[in-house]
């Protein structure tokens, strides 16, 4: 009987739940700072860090790069080659600064999840992921409408080339729903759910391991708690990988959607 899992009603074990992700304002007594909770502080610090980093990288430019310039160039080339140039073709330069900013912002905000003093990825709060996705949606639709006109863009987005007329009643609503309604939702949900589920997994291992190790009886439980705490380091490593990958994937998909909006008629 001692091996039954404890429910949340058990004494002292607080199972991690989605409520752990709603954080209070940092200064509850100051009414005009009610918007400033930990997520907002992380995002503001991330923005300041990114601005400082890219300004410094743009400043010291020599023909033979030193170490600092090499790091900046590596980051810049990574976004330019793998994300912008491969997907957007010949007019990638218009969108490259935006893609670099998007990638840097999402990467730094994801990495707050493993930084020792914050330990909460900003995009684990759904509003952040959806805000970014809505911005991407506005941009790729706006770019398409600016290039093709409203009707032309809708025709491009909903009607692939070579579809016979008797299929149009099926294809047009499906493609409209898939390209214009579902795309921002899956973009945001992919980022948010990866950060949320990953952080929840880390919480389960650490909180469960700590409870098993320190507060429950039985030597088997204590050993299991210790193993769980050690294994949570491996889960942290997985989290680093997932955070970097999700930042990359968000930016790549943004570039792909932009490219499909800018595509010429077949």
């Amino acid at each position: 009987m001692g091996l039954l899992p404890l429910e949340t009603g058990g004494e002292g074990y607080h199972a991690p739940s989605p409520d752990d992700f709603t954080l209070p304002p940092l200064f509850p007594d100051v009414p005009w700072l009610a918007w400033l909770d930990k997520y907002m502080l992380q995002a503001i610090v991330a923005t300041i860090l990114i601005i400082i980093f890219w300004l410094v990288m743009a400043r010291k430019r020599q023909m033979v790069p030193g170490k600092g310039q090499f790091i900046g160039e590596t980051a810049y080339f990574f976004v330019r080659n793998s994300i912008a140039r491969d997907n957007l073709g010949h007019d990638f330069r218009k969108f490259l600064p935006w893609l670099i900013a998007l990638f840097s912002f999402i990467l730094i905000n994801n990495l707050w999840g493993i930084f020792p003093f914050t330990l909460m990825p900003t995009t684990a709060h759904a509003g952040w992921a959806y805000g970014l996705a809505i911005m991407v949606w506005v941009v790729y639709n706006g770019v398409g409408i600016a290039k093709h006109g409203f009707g032309g863009y809708l025709k491009l987005a909903t009607l692939p080339a070579g579809v016979p007329v008797f299929m149009w009643w099926l294809i047009i609503p499906l493609e409209f729903f898939s390209n214009i309604i579902v795309r921002p939702v899956t973009l945001a949900l992919r980022l948010f759910a990866n950060m949320f589920a990953g952080h929840l997994l880390v919480l389960v291992f650490v909180l469960g391991g700590e409870y098993l190790l320190l507060e429950s009886e039985g030597i088997v439980n204590n050993i299991a708690g210790g193993v769980s705490l050690v294994f949570s380091m491996a889960i942290f490593a997985l989290e680093v990988f997932v955070q970097c990958l999700q930042a990359f994937i968000f930016t790549v998909l943004t570039a792909v959607y932009l490219a499909s909006s800018l595509a010429e008629e077949h």
């Binding site: 899956t186 589920a197 994937i249």
Partner: protein, 75 residues
Amino acid sequence: MTPLELTGSLGIVGYGLAAIGPGIGVGLIFASVIQGTARQPEARGAMMGTAWIGFAVTEALAIIGIALAFVFGGL
């Protein structure tokens, strides 16, 4: 207690079913990467880039499953 009555969180059962598809999908992606690398080792770099993109898009379904399991199942 009614015989054959199931109690507990239905969200977790839903998540378990939802994780079948992406599991098979990710397996297919990396199986084709391994086969392609075996046939033509110099194409490995380009294949791995596409493999990670395909992996993230497929994995999104499984991750949406676990996130919505909390929403719908009320764990």
